[in-house]
Amino acid sequence: MQSPLPLADSDLLAWIADPYREWSQRFPRRRAFGYLCTYAPLELLHAAGFAPVRIMQSSGVLALAEAHLPTFSCALARTTTEQMLRGKLDFLDGVLFTHTCDTLQCLADIWRLAAARFPVLTFSLPTVLEGEAARIYLLAELQRLVDTLEATFGVRITPNQVRASIAPYNLQRRLLAELYARVEHLSALQVWSLSTVGMLLPVEEHNALLQRFLDSLPKATRHPRSGPALLAVGAIVDDPLVPRLIDELGARLVSDDLCTGSRCWDTLVDEEGDPLSALANRYVRRAPCPAKHAPGQSREERLLGLVRTKGVQGVLFVQLKFCDPHAFDYVPLSQALDAAGVPHLLLESDASVSAGQVRTRLQAFVEMLGSGR
């Protein structure tokens, strides 16, 4: 599959498939800082002089990680640990773990005990993302991260620097929102690759890439794509399999509620006022991940809202095996869809699930939607 806009002569998809090996050669003047979850305050890492780079799953043999994690840990935990142990992440100056699920909580300490060759920092954001007490604590925890970054790397992070780092991330959020707004003219794989690469590139590079791409789109409306409209819900889609299949099967991916999708960019940070407060406020306002408790923001209502506003005909739950928060939320979310008469399909990814199986199940689902049942 040809990417519409090559990334400095190389193919976007190839870059996503193996982003870490040549990261330092490609960006020799940037220092990379790893993170795993959408709750990482990228603006603070950026203000400390780093380019945040998301640590994604990798395919390939698991050999070293087996000695560090039991069989019932998710593939994200196992494959990232494998990469860490093999030294593939040594280009990073550090890694930030944010507190969301039990697995990431353990993984931070496991990496420390395994003597990762870079500092492993933690950010214990609250689980309850509502109320004044949580906001005050969150603010203190953001300040603690600033202090830790300053002490560990000998840098100064001033409010002005944080403010200066909020701007490019807000621009990225706006550009991604615009990209998603144009999905009816784009393939699922285009949207997926253009947004996924943003978690791997320095934000300035990604913004330039997105801007060029959006500018290149014709202003006049072409024929919009047809086919059943799908919404992807769940955790991590860092493999092109599902978007590629959606395109091949003649369906459309109209939006998502994913840890690697809209939940990365859904709410802007205020550019006025105290920058740490502005960051804290976004945490409270943004769409919550299922590991968070925010009763005022019902995930069922959000899902039904997306279904209504985007004209969704079928929902794909894309889940990692052994991901507890998403497995729990699958029940009320799927029940809400049942009650609303919206068909849905659960695709659970695991080493034991082949691409052929995913294709067969997705094909049957798309055909069912296409036939109007």
């Binding site: 994690l69 395994a114 214990s124 689980t127 007490a133 925890e141 299922p290 507890d324």
Partner: protein, 403 residues
Amino acid sequence: MAEKRYKKLKTAAELQQLMQWHYASARYLRLGRPLAWVTSGAPVEILRAMQIAVLYPENYTALCGARHLASSLCQVAEAHGYSQDLCSYARTDLGSAFDPAHAPMQGLPKPDLLIACNNICGTVVKWYEALAGYYHVPLFVLDTPFVHDQLQDSTLYYVVAQLEELIRFIERATGHRLDKARLSKIAHVSNETTRVWGEIRALCKARPSPLNAPDLFVNMAPIVVLRGANSALRFYRHLQAEVEQRVRLKVGAIPEEKHRLLWDNIAIWHHLYRFYNLFVDHGACFVVDTYTGGWAHAVPEGEPLPGIAQAYTSIFLNQSLQYRVEWMASLIREYGVDGFVMHCNRSCKPYSLGQYAVRRAVMERTGVPGLVIESDQCDARTYAEEPIRTRIQAFIETLEART
């Protein structure tokens, strides 16, 4: 019977009565008091002081596991869409809620309110959200941020503010008010009970050890479900007297103690005696464990709320793996332990995912060998005895080669 290989405690009958009373009174003798379902790490002292009756689904589901009824209840939850990979306590409890007719005691009586504290795991938040949705009752989540490094003042302020909010939440939900004097009294009883429980555990430093892990697991129930109640304190004083007598008379928990072991993680409830007998057959006694030690930490004296906040945020499952390594190494020294066994428990990720890393670090620190056995606390479908027996055999041979 397998149990015959254990010396039965005389206090066993009292324990049974106490637990029967606990469940019966929550069902029949509440005298109009509202009923809360709470997690094992919830600050129950506040609820008791506000005259709220409490039940612990974790204790109930362990009991379902011991009666070999958990797996079928798990299947009920799975039929409702809950993945088989989720915690078996959560699945058993949800299964008993969906199908009480097939659950022990016809399920637990319906709660009026729910209180989940995430100091033990993130699963309880999702599990209690599911219960709140099913029963349409209010839920309070007490958030105790995980302590990777040092416990921060900001964390304590946050937890204290939530405890104040918890009191207002209960007031709103039930109309009951907090009696501060009563809270201090209950916190004192709670502390006395945890102190006695800690002393009973410490009596197992004796050779031979007066108790084995299944004794600790069976006898921990009141410290969890009746913490702060005088009846629990009375029971533990009786148990303490009996265990002290065993130590004086050099009566061991198992017939012939050759190896002294440490246990890590929740029990395998569905094969409790049968599993530990695989060790008893080799003269191996678990003289100490980490799990039942989770309820041996007192609330600091002084103002109750900051003390409660500190105690409940500092429990070992809310602290780093590095903390666990230090703690296990110190238990191994204090109890004269020759080897440790880690139950790598599919149901409990925060307890289990780091066990390989902890095992390596504890072995380096102490020179004592450790064995990891993968199983599940409640769901017997994952239990395979033959490979376990083989691994235990090999582990015992390692221990014997060292002596």
